[in-house]
């Protein structure tokens, strides 16, 4: 864990009225690992992802991606700096084909001036070709290459989740935030998902994983941070975290320790 962190968050705080959803959270995510964030319902996991990705800005704090300060940047700027994400409740573009969904993100750092599009010139064509191959590669990685021309509504639920991952991958990010990727998946589908996550890691992409299913997290994560009531209560390797009394208390309640 000596490599420099790809995500450095300091004092990230988010309030919703009187509720402190994130209370001065610090987080360092080293490059190239699978880092999980776990915690009971309402502990602030998704709020933290939203703050990191710019979907819903933090009220205070500092967030750096590869050394670049992104606090309060618009989400598309953060995406262009190399941070992609998926959503807890799937957000697919239903009126685009499977391939086009991924192409949207594949265009992430390939801005085409309107004139080039209108003139349909060589630069436009070259750009579209590049976008097409990036998008097809991403579909290949998650195993959806055969469904490229289908509509997303024709995909089963688990494959829609994989489509979101392909879309995140297509923006060629250095970090992907996965928000409860296994939600609603059965055992076989979760296994496919784990394979996909391992594949992303082997591409050198850092994974920040928010997950409810603790067993799934422990098997694949290099590091785990635990949130409870908006505070980070523990961090370490999966086995360290599992033995941490504060974590056990957060998940099971105080009384169970004596039982």
């Amino acid at each position: 864990m000596t490599s420099e962190p790809i995500i450095t968050a300091r004092g990230v705080t988010r309030r919703f009225g009187g509720l402190v959803a994130l209370d001065s959270v610090d987080l360092d995510v080293p490059k190239g690992i699978v880092h999980a964030i776990i915690g009971p319902n309402g502990s602030g996991k998704t709020t933290l992802l939203n703050a990191l990705s710019g979907a819903s800005h933090a009220d205070a704090g500092s967030i750096r991606i590869a050394g670049e300060e992104i606090f309060r940047l618009k989400p598309h700027r953060i995406a262009r700096l190399g941070l992609a994400r998926t959503f807890q409740n799937i957000r697919i573009f239903d009126n685009l084909s499977v391939l086009e969904n991924v192409k949207v993100a594949a265009a992430c750092n390939k801005p085409t001036p309107f004139f080039d599009i209108l003139a349909a010139n060589a630069r436009h064509k070259q750009n579209e070709t590049g976008i097409d191959s990036t998008a097809r590669d991403a579909l290949e990685t998650v195993g959806l290459a055969g469904r490229a021309d289908d509509q997303p509504s024709q995909l089963p639920y688990a494959q829609r989740r994989l489509l979101e991952i392909a879309r995140a991958l297509a923006s060629k990010p250095s970090v992907i935030l996965l928000d409860e990727p296994a939600a609603g998946m059965n055992m076989t589908e979760s296994m496919t998902l784990l394979d996909t996550i391992a594949k992303l890691k082997s591409h050198g992409i850092t994974i920040l994983l928010v997950e409810h299913n603790v067993r799934l997290v422990m098997g694949i994560s290099d590091r785990v941070a635990v949130l409870d009531f908006g505070k980070k209560i523990a961090e370490g390797t999966p086995s360290e975290v599992q033995r941490n009394p504060l974590v056990i208390e957060a998940y099971l309640g105080r009384r169970h320790r004596h039982a």
Binding site: H76, L96, A107, T112, I117, L118, S171
Partner: protein, 314 residues
């Protein structure tokens, strides 16, 4: 196979459009078709911002009017016709930029309200700036299309010019739909947050859709003034803005074919039902409601549904 299936109706429709003047040369019919074509171009423009980018825009009729009045005023004051498409485009691009820049950061309903206000302002200016715009009686005897002294004569030649303009408008729209920008527009409509997190600048995308749409309307307005030769505030009122939106919804949001069906059907239908006298509005209204209830995807969604039925999918 699917692309071949898609292609032949387009070829058939194009041939039919080109053959119409061989069947009828009734000036009333041709004039009506000319207006239908112009409305189609305006609705294609509306489809960028409303059908694809998902923003409600009631200002499209005002952009149509701005283009028409710019052209009429320019040519009547002696400028050569060739300058008018550029002038009309510049005016509507400037107006849509000024209107879109502050509102596109906000969500759907704010644009709807802003554009309603904008439409009313344009209408009031047209009605009250009488020395220039002719007020409620409009402008007559507008000089026609003419490039270095060569221009179309009679309605049938105008019809062919408008058919060519429509074909260009359709090709450009289809090209943009297949480009980075078209995908970004639909992504913005389907999920603004997912589009942003995929690197799409949604504010810029919405603004681009709004401005391209306004340009379509402005250029259609230019052609309206110089081919119909008479304009009045009624053609570009708030009622017209709602009618354009209805054409888009009845035809099928987001579908180029739908824009053509919707605009042509709803331009011709009121005239075709005129023999019913005052009752025509009742039938017209019922027809619109029937389409919205029975085919929520618009007329354009009926085609694929028939094909599925034949293939036994549904």
């Amino acid at each position: 196979m699917s692309s071949a299936l898609k292609r032949w109706p387009v070829v058939a429709a194009s041939l039919a459009a080109l053959a119409i003047p061989l069947i009828t040369q009734d000036s009333y019919v041709i004039q009506l078709l000319n207006i239908a074509i112009l409305n189609t171009i305006v609705v294609l423009g509306l489809n960028f911002v409303t059908g694809w980018a998902g923003q409600i825009n009631f200002g499209q009729a005002a952009f149509y009017g701005l283009g028409a009045y710019t052209t009429a005023i320019a040519t009547k004051s002696g400028l050569p016709w060739i300058t008018t498409p550029f002038l009309s485009a510049i005016v509507v691009i400037a107006a849509s930029l000024a209107l879109g820049l502050p509102t596109m950061r906000l969500r759907t309903y704010y644009l709807a309200m802003t554009t309603i206000g904008f439409g009313e302002i344009i209408r009031l200016i047209i009605v009250h700036w009488e020395p220039v715009t002719g007020g409620t009686s409009g402008l007559r005897a507008i000089p026609g299309i003419s490039i270095f002294g060569i221009g179309p004569e009679g309605q049938i030649q105008h019809y062919y010019i408008l058919v060519i303009a429509l074909a260009l408008a359709i090709l450009i729209a289809a090209h943009i739909r297949r480009s980075v920008l078209g995908r970004a527009m639909i992504a913005t409509r389907d999920s603004e947050i997912a589009a942003e997190q995929s690197g799409v600048d949604t504010t810029r995308t919405k603004l681009a859709a709004f401005m391209i749409g306004a340009t379509y309307a402005g250029l259609a307005g230019c052609l309206y003034a110089s081919s119909i030769r008479f304009i009045s505030p009624d053609s570009f009122s708030g009622t017209q803005a709602i009618l354009l939106m209805t054409m888009l919804i009845v035809g099928g949001m987001g579908s180029i074919v739908g824009c053509v069906f919707g605009a042509v059907a709803l331009t011709i239908l009121p005239e075709a039902l005129r023999f019913l006298g005052q009752w025509y509005l009742v039938l017209y209204g019922l027809g619109v409601i029937a389409v919205i209830v029975l085919a929520p995807g618009g007329l354009a969604s009926l085609g694929p549904r028939l094909q599925w039925r034949q293939a036994g999918v549904r």
